[in-house]
Symmetry: C2
Subunit: 330 residues, 2 copies
């Protein structure tokens, strides 16, 4: 598979060089693999740190900035960052009011963030963690005990980030982050596999009319193979899976997310079906995102994430944010 | 090729339904194929209208909103909108100070916008047009007399939109739009062809290690076929082509644009090379965009667009904008 890279070995470093050149608001260390706000930590504010394997861009580095993350640490492609990166990111985020780790539920990430938390606690930094596990497709998975963390990560980072920016305590920011995760569910569908630069081969094989229902963001198996359906049916399958796990009602924040190689016109077609079918289930799409937010390299497909809103969460979602991938209000 | 659609016949209408559901700030007529600001025309402000074939999302409908377009009219996939749509869009944009059409240089678009201009002039609306023809790859092309209009369209719409929002006259907004086009050049590279929903087959064939240098946004042939190169070489080829046509110096606004199925991590790798090589040529990347802005359905590849800035253009670029695909300052 052709890729716009210099070499498989340098792809993460090169992409971070590009991120640095494009966004003067970020302080990027391409070799040390950390990204933080160029202004440094905000004194007295709870810091937010996230990280995970690369290949899911704009997650997480694209969400560093005012109102969202203070720092991110990208690992190698589909590989957890190491504790040393997390410690550096924590220092870049620590304004003296404690630091919250937003951790997607994958074994490597969980373990390394725990090690980093211990190291930072020894240095006197108060650390809390929230585990994101919104993907209803499967209970356990490759590299995962329990459900996988996917699209809800964006919601957690945005909403907890707004709470932190507003001056909330570490306990309160943590509570908000946990609440967003508890109110969010996701389901993904793959039309094609993804190919890592190192292997050069698709992570799995899908036939010309085959799709994978419940795909993971590293190409992990979902619930089943199926034949291709139209957008209306795929939206129904995703919403059924979400609704079965968390009965849907009221106002919702809804994301239709592209997996990295899905044209925007197709994401809007899916969103039209999702919004219409949610209305039919008595759910109002109060806020939404349509685009590439949590990707899987060059995978074709989409995921749907639904978060049931209340007034507080809506207010925090609407609060100003200024990051490479999400920006409003300033 | 698998696509997230309901049918080839309804893909544009369905995507517009999605656009409408996702963006309450837009007034969308999915059947009439027009998109405008939900608040209607701004009295006393010059209106900006653009349009063209669908399949290039977020262009143009994703750029309707404060500080940019007043209305857009999407045609069928890779097909010019018809004059009737343009007339409706003009009415939705007409605040009494005249309306500027931003027209990409393709024969169908040029002809239909001319017809629409005549019809609107008969109704007493003052109309001006700017032709965007920034693509240096080829002189003439399929469906094009003269150079093709591609990435610079985003710059023209943003900067002329800011001038209009700031109260400039139709003559002044037109002059600014022409200046942006005159100062902008683009060059694109395809790693794969795109597939229209109607045909279901790639518009052309590229071998496993082949690429097309100077690709058009409908898959029109460029300058030559080549073997795959690394990102550094591809950036150099694109910048050489731009620099040959318009010697580069000073401050630049630079876009590295994805063609629709290019992962963001790869676009940042390309941007790193572009920024570094521009610095080596004595050009400072003063402003930038990295992402999918002018796409070609599911094509894999990228384009580079460079606009040589001055103080006025920089100020207009920085002015607040609030559209689905471009937002800052509010």
């Amino acid at each position: 598979v052709k890729k716009l890279i210099n070499s498989a070995e340098t792809v993460v470093t090169d992409a971070l060089r590009g991120l640095s050149a494009a966004h003067p608001g970020l302080r990027v260390d391409p070799d040390g693999r950390t990204v933080s706000r160029s202004g440094g930590p905000t004194p007295g504010k709870v810091g937010l740190v996230s990280g995970g394997g690369s290949g899911h861009e704009p997650l997480h580095a694209g969400f560093v900035g005012y109102g969202m993350l203070d720092a991110a640490c990208p690992g190698e492609i589909f590989t957890s960052p190491v504790p040393g990166q997390m410690v550096t990111a924590t220092a870049a985020a620590d304004g003296g009011a404690g630091v919250l780790y937003v951790v997607k539920n994958y074994t490597g990430d969980v373990l390394n963030f725990e090690l980093a938390a211990d190291l930072c606690a020894e240095e006197g930094v108060e650390i809390a963690s929230v585990l994101v596990d919104d993907d209803v497709a499967v209970r356990d998975s490759l590299h995962t005990a329990g459900r996988r963390g996917t699209g809800a990560t964006v919601f957690v980072e945005k909403i907890a980030g707004a709470a932190a920016e507003g001056g909330a305590s570490l306990a309160e920011v943590t509570r908000v982050a946990e609440e967003v995760n508890a109110r969010s569910r996701s389901f993904g569908v793959a039309l094609s596999a993804c190919t890592t630069p190192a292997s050069g081969r698709p992570t799995f094989e899908l036939g010309e009319t085959e799709i994978e229902l419940g795909i993971g963001i590293h190409g992990e198996p979902g619930r089943s193979r199926s034949t291709m359906r139209d957008a209306r049916e795929l939206a129904a399958i995703a919403l059924d899976a979400v609704d079965e796990d968390m009965p849907l009602s009221g106002d919702a924040l809804v994301m239709v997310n592209g997996m990295g190689a899905t044209p925007l016109i197709e994401l809007y077609v899916v969103f039209a079906e999702v919004a219409e079918q949610l209305a039919g289930r008595g759910v109002r799409v109060a806020r939404s995102l349509v685009g590439d937010y949590v990707t899987s390299l060059d995978m074709r497909g989409f995921s749907v994430t639904v978060c049931l809103l209340d007034e507080d969460l809506t207010r925090l979602w609407d609060a100003p944010v200024e990051t490479p991938a999400l920006r409003w209000g300033r």
